[in-house]
C-alpha cells in the first residue's frame, strides 16, 4: 500500500489488449525520484503503449498505476492533475501549428492558471534559452527544422514544471544531423536530476544517460538492469540478437 519514500511511479501488473492482440502482459515497474530509464526493444513490442499509459493517453485493462502513492484513476483525482505533473514528448513533436513558439510554451501554464501571463512568458524565455532557441519566440512551427521543433516540444513540456518527463522516440523522426542537438538537451535535463523515461533506439545515448535500461519484447520486460549489465553482459537470447542487429 505505502509507497517507498522516494518512489514516484509504481506500475503494478499492467495488462492491455487492442482487440485480440495483447500488447502489454502483466508489467510491473518502480520508478524512483531522479531515475533516468531507457526503454529499448523491437518495434511493435508495446513500448509506446506502455509509456502512454503513464500519461493516461491509454487506459489499462488490468493492473494499477500509482503516482506518488495514489492510483491515477482514483475517483476524485482529475486526470489533468496527473498529466500536469507528468510531461510527454512525442516522436512527431506535435507542436500546435496555429500558435507561435512562445504561445506553444505558454498555453498550458496560463490556461490552467499555473502562472500569470508574465510569469509564463518569463519562464518560456528562460526555457527557450535552455534549449538554445532564444530569438525564435515569434516563429511558427512550420518555420522550424525538426530538431528545433523537438527542442520546443521539450520546452513546452518543461513549462508545466513536471515531476516526470516521458519521451517516446524523441529523435526517430529527425534527420541524422539534428539528433545530437536534441539528445544534448535531454542529457542536460538528466544531469539536472529530472526523472525521465525514454523510449529510444540510440543505444550509445541510452548507455551514457540512463541509470536503468528496460528491454521490452512481446509485451513484457524481458530483461532489465544497469546499462553495463544490459549492453555488456546481456543474458536473454532475444536481447543479444536485438543488440547485434542494432549495432
Amino acid at each position: 500500500m505505502n509507497a517507498k519514500p522516494n518512489t514516484i511511479i509504481q506500475v503494478q501488473n499492467l495488462s492491455k489488449s487492442f482487440g485480440n492482440l495483447q500488447v502489454l502482459k502483466n508489467i510491473s515497474l518502480d520508478v524512483y525520484q531522479g531515475d533516468v530509464i531507457a526503454i529499448i526493444g523491437p518495434s511493435g513490442c508495446g513500448k509506446s503503449t506502455f509509456i502512454r499509459h503513464l500519461n493516461m493517453l491509454e487506459k489499462q485493462d488490468e493492473g494499477k498505476i500509482l503516482f506518488n502513492g495514489k492510483d491515477i484513476y482514483e475517483k476524485g483525482l482529475h486526470s489533468r492533475f496527473v498529466r500536469e505533473r507528468i510531461g510527454m514528448v512525442f516522436q512527431q513533436f506535435n507542436l500546435f501549428k496555429n500558435l507561435t513558439v512562445l504561445k506553444n510554451i505558454m498555453l498550458a501554464p496560463v490556461t490552467l492558471h499555473k502562472m500569470t501571463k508574465s510569469e509564463a512568458e518569463a519562464k518560456a524565455k528562460e526555457l527557450l534559452n535552455k534549449v538554445g532557441l532564444s530569438g525564435y519566440e515569434n516563429h511558427y512551427p512550420s518555420q522550424l527544422s525538426g530538431g528545433q521543433q523537438q527542442r520546443i516540444a521539450i520546452a513546452r513540456a518543461m513549462a508545466m514544471n513536471p515531476d516526470v518527463l516521458l519521451f517516446d522516440e524523441p529523435t526517430s523522426a529527425l534527420d541524422p544531423e539534428m539528433v545530437g542537438e536534441v539528445l544534448k538537451i535531454i542529457k542536460d535535463l538528466a544531469n539536472s536530476g529530472m526523472t525521465m523515461l525514454i523510449v529510444t533506439h540510440e543505444m550509445n545515448f541510452a548507455k551514457s544517460v540512463a541509470n536503468k535500461v528496460l528491454f521490452f519484447s512481446e509485451g513484457i520486460i524481458k530483461e532489465q538492469g544497469t546499462p553495463q549489465e544490459i549492453f555488456e553482459n546481456p543474458k536473454d537470447e532475444r536481447l543479444k540478437e536485438f543488440l547485434s542487429v542494432i549495432h
Binding site: F96, N98, L107
Partner: protein
C-alpha cells in the same frame, strides 16, 4: 489571374446586352381566330382559369400546346419575342399590356367569358357573410362604378382611400402582376381589387395589409390563415370550390387571345429610352434598391445564424468523434444534417413559412433569415467538420498530455485550425447562400431578384432589369470573394 475576372465578366454582360438588343427574325402571327389555336404554343399564367380552358381545348385532335408561366408578363414577353404564338388571359390585363406593348393585338373573338370573386378560408363562413355584405354595399353606394370608371373606362380619377386606421388588420393576399386589378406603381400596390379590399376593410373597421405572393400560393395562404381574404381576379370554378369559399362575384371578365400584330413592327427603343423606362421613370430603381437591401439583410443574418449553428453542430460532432460520449446530441445533429441536406432549400423555406409559422404572424424577412440560416448551418458544420478531421490527432494528444481540457484544446488549437482550412469552402457556401436568397419571392419578399421582376412586370422588358440584377449579384459575390481572399492572406502567414 483574379484581376482579369471582372474584365471577362464585363465582356460577358455586354455580349448578353447586345443579344438582347437584337430582336431579329420574329415569326409572323398565324393565329387569326380561336380555332387557329390548335397545335399552337399558347402561354397562360399558372393557376389562372385560362390554363384550365386551354388544357381542355380542342379534344384529342386539336390540342393546344400550353406553356405555363408564373407571371403573365413573362408570357407576354415570350409572345413578343416569338417564342410562343398566343397568350390567353383576362381582357382587362390584356388591354393594360397592349397599352405598353404596341406590337401586339387582341383577337375580336372572345375565348371564354367568366366572373371574378374573392376567396375566403373554407371554414370561415362568418367572414364570408361580412364580406358579401360589404360587396353589396359597395355596389349599392355606387363606389364600385366609380372605381370601374377609373380603371376600366378611364373616364374618372376616383380613388377609394381608406378611412379606418386600426391595429386590427384585414390581410389581403394578392399577386400584383395583374393590371388593372392589382399591380405595382410608384405609390405601392394599386388596382381595382385593392380599392375593393380597402372598402371591405373600412366596412369591417379594420386597416388593410397587403400580402403580395405568387398567384398559385394565394389559396394556400388564405386557407392557412396567413391572409384573411384573397382578391386576385379569381374565377369561380368547381375545382376551386372544393378547397375554398367564394364571395359573391364582383366583376365580369372575358378571356381573350393576344397575338402579334403583323402590321405593327415593334419600334426599337434607344438604350437611353430603355434605361429611362426601366429605372428612372416613376423611380423604378427603388424596386432594385429595396430588393438589394432585403437580399443583403437576409444573406448577412442568415450567414451569421448559419455560422453559429454550424459551429455548435461541428463541436458536438468533433467532441463525439474524439472523446466519445454526447451520443444523444450527436444523433440529433446527424438527423438535422440529413434532413437539411436531403431536401431543397425552397421546400424548407415554404415549410418554415407555411407550416412552422403558420399560425403566427411573423415578419417574413425573419422567416427567410431563419430558413436560410438553418439551411446554411448544415453545410457550414460539415465544412468545419472536415476542417477538424484535417488536424493531426497528435496535436490533440499533446494538448491532453499537458493537462488541457477538451474545451481548451477546442478553442485554442482545434477550432482556429479547422476554421482556417475551412475558409475557402465556407466562402463558397456563403456565395451560394447569397444567390439562393433569390427564391425569397416565393413567400412574397421583395428581394433583389423580385425587385427586377417587378420592374419587368411594369415595363414588359426583360433585358435591362435582368442584366441589372445579374450585375449586382455578381458585384456582391466578387466583393465577398475578395474580402475573404484578403482574410485568408492574413491568416496564411502563420503556417505552411
Amino acid at each position: 489571374m483574379f484581376k482579369k475576372i471582372p474584365i471577362w465578366a464585363i465582356l460577358f454582360f455586354s455580349f448578353a446586352f447586345i443579344l438582347g438588343c437584337n430582336d431579329n427574325a420574329i415569326p409572323a402571327n398565324k393565329v387569326f381566330a380561336v380555332k387557329d389555336l390548335a397545335h399552337k404554343k399558347v402561354g397562360v399564367q399558372i393557376g389562372n382559369t385560362a390554363d384550365i380552358y386551354a388544357s381542355d381545348f380542342g379534344g384529342d385532335t386539336a390540342k393546344i400546346q400550353v406553356e405555363r408561366y408564373s407571371k403573365l408578363t413573362d408570357a407576354i414577353q415570350a409572345l413578343s419575342q416569338g417564342k410562343i404564338d398566343a397568350v390567353l388571359c383576362d381582357d382587362q390585363p390584356a388591354k393594360a399590356f397592349l397599352r405598353q406593348n404596341q406590337s401586339l393585338k387582341i383577337l375580336d373573338e372572345v375565348f371564354v367569358e367568366e366572373t371574378y370573386a374573392g376567396v375566403i378560408a373554407k371554414n370561415n363562413t362568418a367572414l364570408l357573410d361580412t364580406v358579401n355584405m360589404a360587396l353589396k354595399n359597395l355596389k349599392i353606394s355606387g363606389t364600385y362604378d366609380s372605381i370601374f370608371n377609373t380603371y376600366i373606362n378611364r373616364s374618372s380619377d376616383f380613388h377609394y382611400t381608406q378611412k379606418v386606421k386600426s391595429e386590427n388588420k384585414l390581410i389581403l393576399s394578392t399577386n400584383a402582376q395583374f393590371p388593372p386589378y392589382e399591380f405595382h406603381s410608384a405609390n405601392g400596390i394599386e388596382g381595382i381589387d385593392i380599392e375593393i379590399a380597402r372598402y371591405i376593410a373600412d366596412y369591417m373597421n379594420r386597416s388593410l395589409e397587403i400580402q403580395d405572393i405568387e398567384f398559385d400560393a394565394i389559396i394556400n395562404s388564405v386557407n392557412s390563415g396567413k391572409a384573411d381574404i384573397g382578391l386576385a381576379g379569381f374565377t369561380i370554378t368547381e375545382e376551386r370550390k372544393k378547397s375554398i369559399l367564394f364571395t359573391t362575384p364582383y366583376a365580369e371578365s372575358k378571356i381573350v387571345v393576344i397575338v402579334r400584330d403583323n402590321n405593327k413592327i415593334s419600334k426599337t427603343e434607344s438604350i437611353g429610352e430603355l434605361l429611362h423606362k426601366n429605372f428612372i421613370k416613376e423611380a423604378r430603381w427603388k424596386f432594385i434598391v429595396e430588393g438589394l437591401g432585403n437580399t443583403l439583410i437576409i444573406s448577412f443574418f442568415a450567414a451569421f445564424l448559419g455560422i453559429c449553428i454550424g459551429i455548435g453542430v461541428s463541436f458536438v460532432r468533433f467532441a463525439h468523434e474524439t472523446m466519445g460520449g454526447m451520443k444523444f446530441l450527436n444523433t440529433i445533429c446527424k438527423i438535422y444534417l440529413a434532413i437539411i441536406r436531403g431536401t431543397p432549400v425552397l421546400v424548407q423555406l415554404l415549410i418554415i413559412y407555411y407550416i412552422v409559422f403558420s399560425s403566427v404572424n411573423v415578419n417574413k424577412i425573419l422567416v427567410a433569415v431563419i430558413a436560410f440560416g438553418i439551411n446554411s448551418g448544415a453545410y457550414v458544420s460539415e465544412i468545419l467538420r472536415s476542417g477538424f478531421k484535417a488536424i493531426d490527432p497528435g496535436q490533440i494528444e499533446a494538448g491532453r498530455s499537458l493537462g488541457l481540457r477538451f474545451r481548451h484544446i477546442l478553442s485554442h488549437i482545434a477550432f482556429p485550425q479547422a476554421f482556417k482550412t475551412s475558409l475557402p469552402s465556407m466562402t463558397n457556401e456563403f456565395i451560394t447562400l447569397i444567390k439562393e436568397t433569390s427564391i425569397c419571392g416565393y413567400i412574397g419578399i421583395t428581394d433583389l431578384t423580385r425587385g427586377g421582376d417587378i420592374i419587368r412586370s411594369l415595363t414588359y422588358e426583360a433585358m435591362l432589369p435582368l442584366l441589372a440584377v445579374a450585375v449586382i449579384y455578381f458585384i456582391l459575390v466578387a466583393g465577398l470573394s475578395s474580402c475573404v481572399a484578403r482574410l485568408e492572406k492574413r491568416l496564411k502567414k502563420n503556417e505552411r
